[in-house]
């Protein structure tokens, strides 16, 4: 069972800010004491580079580092740890896919199929691929709650679609897309499937083999690891049969002065340069912590918080909810007549941390009909009391109060 108090006791940020309601988890997550301990130990007792030295410290660091590949493999149910590439985060992972696979396989008039609700990191790299190859982007029609009708998806698929790139969970509206069926259809057309799972992997069970996706990307910091850690998952043959976008030490087996390079096998050929050892160790520790709670339990907890928030916010006639029906823990709203940033600043005065903005999904305005929203996003350590604080602050919010809050 999910023991809220026990979970919260493992997060020093919560202990150190007892009055703070942190609802910006889609941006980044707090760190558990377990993860902090692992990184601390590395700095205090275990510092060394990996895969280099013949001495005890380096061997231990290398073993611990390599072990994280197994932890990640099990966590997302990959077939092999060789399918796990360590990156700096989802943005790098998605760029790697675009520049490794996209740039080398797409030709003029090929199509990358995506949606208008993607994070910049899953659209800008594809713009660059189109610029270089003459391929073009097409968008799947989307409902104004962020969902996609399967018929619309089927109609959008065709033989020219070579890449289907989509967020598992939208960072603005929190819709969990029915990926398994979409991926199956995309594969029938021979397309490669690229999943931005930055808002999915931290919050729900993700099984890459069940999904049968070809590539998948996520960030470590959003699931409680250190900043600058992340994962690119790729089916082994895809990783092995494509070239990395970056070259350097650690990724090659040998080279000569004539320019002949013998790259290592995947995943190592994608990891040129000294890796972010402490970041990778923190990723392993953060995942272990989540697994000790259980991803099913975490997802269920967030879904309950979302339902509770919707139920409490719906009676407020001045609050416009954009995603009452999506199941993940994202609550996206506006207050009538008050600019999103003014709402967020007002909530900040009440020690409630939320995000205002267009959340990097700049195209979305045409879908939901507003250029800016306020986003509250939950994680495993949030409680109904947090939602109550949010709802109470929103209950008697006025433009006058927001301006006064800015003037204090």
């Amino acid at each position: 069972m999910f023991d809220e108090t026990a979970v919260r006791s493992h997060f020093p940020m919560i202990q150190n800010h007892p009055d703070l309601v942190y609802l910006d988890n889609a941006a980044t997550a707090f760190k558990s004491d377990h993860m902090i301990q692992v990184v601390n130990d590395f700095y205090l007792r275990g510092t060394s580079n990996v895969h280099r030295g013949d001495y005890g410290l380096s061997i231990k660091a290398s073993n611990d580092f390599d072990h994280v590949r197994d932890i990640v493999k099990d966590f997302i149910h990959a077939k092999s740890s060789k399918e796990i590439v360590f990156t700096s985060g989802a943005s790098q992972s998605l760029n790697w896919i675009a520049y490794s696979y996209g740039l080398n396989h797409l030709k003029k008039d090929d199509v990358i199929l995506t949606t208008e609700a993607e994070h910049a990191s899953n659209i800008l790299p594809w713009f660059k691929v189109c610029e270089a190859t003459g391929a073009k982007i097409e968008y799947i029609p989307m409902q104004n709650d962020g969902s996609i009708h399967m018929d619309d998806f089927k109609n959008a698929m065709h033989d020219k679609v070579k890449i289907f790139a989509i967020a598992y969970v939208s960072n603005v509206l929190g819709v969990v897309q029915p990926l398994k069926q979409m991926i199956q259809i995309a594969h029938e057309y021979g397309a490669i499937t690229v999943i931005d799972a930055a808002q999915a992997v931290p919050h729900m069970p993700v099984d890459v083999r069940d999904l049968d996706c070809d590539y998948l990307a996520f960030s470590g910091h959003k699931l409680g690891a250190a900043g600058g850690s992340g994962v690119l998952y790729g089916k082994y043959d895809l990783l092995e049969n494509n070239d990395p976008p970056l070259y350097g030490g650690g990724s090659n087996a040998r080279f000569d002065l004539c320019g002949n390079i013998l790259l290592k096998h995947a995943p190592f050929k994608y990891e040129a340069g000294t890796p972010n050892v402490e970041g990778v160790l923190s990723l392993g520790a953060a995942i272990e912590f989540l697994q000790s709670i259980g991803m099913e339990n975490i997802f269920e907890h967030e879904k309950q918080l979302k339902r509770y928030a919707v139920q409490r916010l719906q009676p407020l006639t001045h609050v416009h909810l954009y995603n009452a029906t999506s199941e993940s823990g994202l609550i996206t709203f506006n207050v009538d007549g008050i600019f999103a940033q003014d709402v967020a600043s007002y909530l900040n005065r009440h020690n409630i941390a939320v995000r205002s903005g267009n959340h990097c999904a700049k195209i979305l305005v045409e879908i939901i009909g507003t250029s800016e929203t306020v986003r509250a996003s939950c994680y495993l350590y949030n409680t109904k009391a947090d939602i109550d604080r949010l709802v109470d602050a929103l209950t008697d919010i006025t433009l006058e109060k927001c301006i006064e809050a800015a003037m204090v």
């Binding site: 940033q341 301006i403 003037m407």
Partner: protein, 146 residues
């Protein structure tokens, strides 16, 4: 003690300038100069327009999307510098920036723009209170860093 020190009056001025902003339109006179100001840290996205008659700011306006503070501060700015010479406008803008930097400034030059002086205490809103002013400065050939 000025009436602008009264919090309720300051609030009402901001409310009024947010809900009924002055000079909020695209200026389409011939030879109008414009400066687009989009923030990478917040949602404010406004354009400032100026039309000159010799050394005088013959007309000034702004348009776009902004929060209460950016909309109201830019609205007040346009009232302040319309009809002023370029040099007078530059002096007003520099005084405003000094006020937000908590440096000495001349409140008489700023008139009701002094209501924003406490914004300097809200680090995340200084940007909002200066976006239009920095745009105007740019049109006057002045570069003001954030």
């Amino acid at each position: 003690m000025s009436i602008f020190d009264d919090k309720a009056i300051a609030r009402d001025i901001i409310m009024d300038n947010y809900q009924n902003p002055h000079n909020k339109k695209t200026l389409d006179k011939e030879n109008t100069q414009s400066k687009h100001m989009a923030s990478d840290s917040c949602i404010d996205d406004i354009t400032v327009y100026m039309h000159f008659e010799g050394e005088t700011i013959d007309d000034v306006s702004f348009n776009g999307i902004g929060c209460t503070i950016s909309t109201a501060s830019t609205s007040i700015l346009t009232d302040l510098i319309k009809g002023k010479t370029k040099q007078e406008a530059k002096t007003i803008i520099h005084n405003y920036m000094d006020m937000l930097d908590e440096k000495p400034y001349d409140p008489h030059l700023l008139q009701e723009a002094v209501i924003f002086k406490d914004i300097s205490k809200s680090a995340n809103r200084i940007h909002c209170a200066t976006i239009g002013w920095r745009g105007a400065a740019a049109l006057l050939g002045e570069k003001i860093d954030e």
